[in-house]
Structures are given as structure tokens and as C-alpha cells.
Amino acid sequence: MLITKTAHIVDNQVLVNGNILYHNEEAIDYKDFIKSTFRQLCPAYPKFFKMDNLCKLAFLASEVLLKDEHLTEKYPKEEIGLIIMNASSSIDVDKDHQQTINSRENYFPSPSFFVYTLPNVMLGEICIKNHFFGENAVYISEHFDADTLFRQVNLFFNINRMSACITGWIENNGTNYEAFLMLVEVDLKVGDLKEICNFAVPEIYKLFNRQ
């Protein structure tokens, strides 16, 4: 298994394979940055604006990662999976939802907040956009844990017979955000011009820490 591509969104920057693709120094906050990134890098996708902030981050990272990859032409849709990890689950939109139900006198739960109150929804958004039908899972961990990701992705490939997996860290707690995604593939053809490295725990940490 090989890591064939990475995407990183952090500190108002979007990086692909460690190289800066987009940088917005003027963005005043996460929302401003994410909106400008979408307009700059992604094709029209009106559903984007309906997503919660976690899904927006996951969606953008996946779009950057999967650009020009044509995964569904290389592998059966059922063999493309996702494993994502984060620390704060869906706490950002959970708080928004709670605000709509805090008061008995003003009790109007918002359906559009409520539908995002699970971190797995970000996987759904990526699968819907890309027509991936493989297994997927979200793990909650206090810190980025490459060992667990490595173990789970290996299980995906060996037991669930995945051929490709989008895996990494998508964290948004309302104050801080970071997205780091890797494309892991089993079926890389000889001659592909890619900056590849082995899917191994030390390599994952190096890529995540941009070393």
C-alpha cells in the first residue's frame, strides 16, 4: 500500500503533497478562509453552502486531494473507502443545534443544523459527491493517532478488500481547524508519475507534521 497524494488545509493555506496550492493571508477567520478557498479551487457545488463547517473542511480537502485522480475509473466504487479521525467530533454544529433548543419559550430546532450533528456526515458528503460506495468510518481521538489509522486502513484493505482509501484527520472545534488527508492506493501502476511513499506509521507522522 502506498500513499500517493496528500492534501493539507491549515493556517489559511491549502497544500498538496506539501506544496502550497492556495494561501489567503487576508481571511479574517475560518469561515472567510473556507469560503474563499471554495470559490478559488472548487467547481460550482451549491450544496457546499448548506454544509456545516466540519463538512465544508472535509469536502474541500477531499476535492483538493481527488482532483484529476479519477478514482472511480481506476477502482470499483465499492472498493473505495474512507477512514477519518478527529478530536472534537461534530461539536461545532452540536453547539449551534443546542442554541436552537436551549429555551422552552423559543424552542425551534433547526433541521439543517440537526442533520449534521454526527461526524460521519462528512464522509457521506464526500461519498455522495464522488460516488464512493466502500466502507467508511470515523474515529474520535484526542490527538492525531497514526498507529490507529494505519491499523484500521490495513483492516480495510485486507478484510474489506478495499483498493483505495481516503484517510486522515479533519478537525474543527469552532476555534481551530486542520484537515490532513492521504490517498492510499493498492493498485499503483508502474510508470505513474507521483510523489509516493510507503503507507507506514513513521511516514504518516512525517507527512502530517510537514517534515
Partner: protein, 88 residues
């Protein structure tokens, strides 16, 4: 409130409530279909409009069949609100 005035208000409220950030109020044709081809809203949006009606206008839609007719367009929505307010 006159119908046109209410239509303007609803356009703004719907853009805000449904996160239609790419749209300006004047982009929404008051006679265009809200669901399907027109604005292309989905079932979650329908729920949001139901919440909006209850929260901002004190109107509860009890019968889902009724919703289909009321939510045809911004204009039908405005007419329903005005009829409801007159009846009160």
C-alpha cells in the same frame, strides 16, 4: 403588510434560513418553483421553511399535503401567510 412587501421579506428570510449564500433576494423569482427545478430545494429545506413559518409567523402546518401547495413558490407562501393572518 402588502403582498409584495411580504415577498421581499420572505426572499431575505429564506436566503438566510437556508444558507443560500450565492443568491441575492432579487435572484429568486417569486413565481418560480421552490422545489424541483426552480430553486432546487430539498426535504431539509422544506423542514426549515416549516420552522421559519412557525418561528416568524406563528403558523403551524399540520397536514403535509397542505405543504406541497403552500410551498409551490414564494408567492403562494406569501398568500398563505396573508390568508392565515387575516383569519386570525
Amino acid at each position: 403588510m402588502e403582498e409584495q412587501e411580504l415577498i421581499e421579506k420572505l426572499r431575505k428570510e429564506i436566503i438566510q434560513q437556508l444558507n443560500l449564500e450565492e443568491l441575492k433576494p432579487e435572484d429568486i423569482d417569486p413565481d418560480a418553483a421552490l422545489f424541483g427545478e426552480g430553486l432546487g430545494l430539498d426535504s431539509i429545506d422544506a423542514l426549515e421553511i416549516i420552522v421559519l413559518l412557525e418561528k416568524n409567523y406563528g403558523i403551524k402546518i399540520e397536514d403535509p399535503k397542505e405543504g406541497k401547495k403552500i410551498f409551490s413558490s414564494i408567492r403562494t407562501l406569501a398568500k398563505y401567510i396573508m390568508d392565515h393572518q387575516k383569519a386570525q
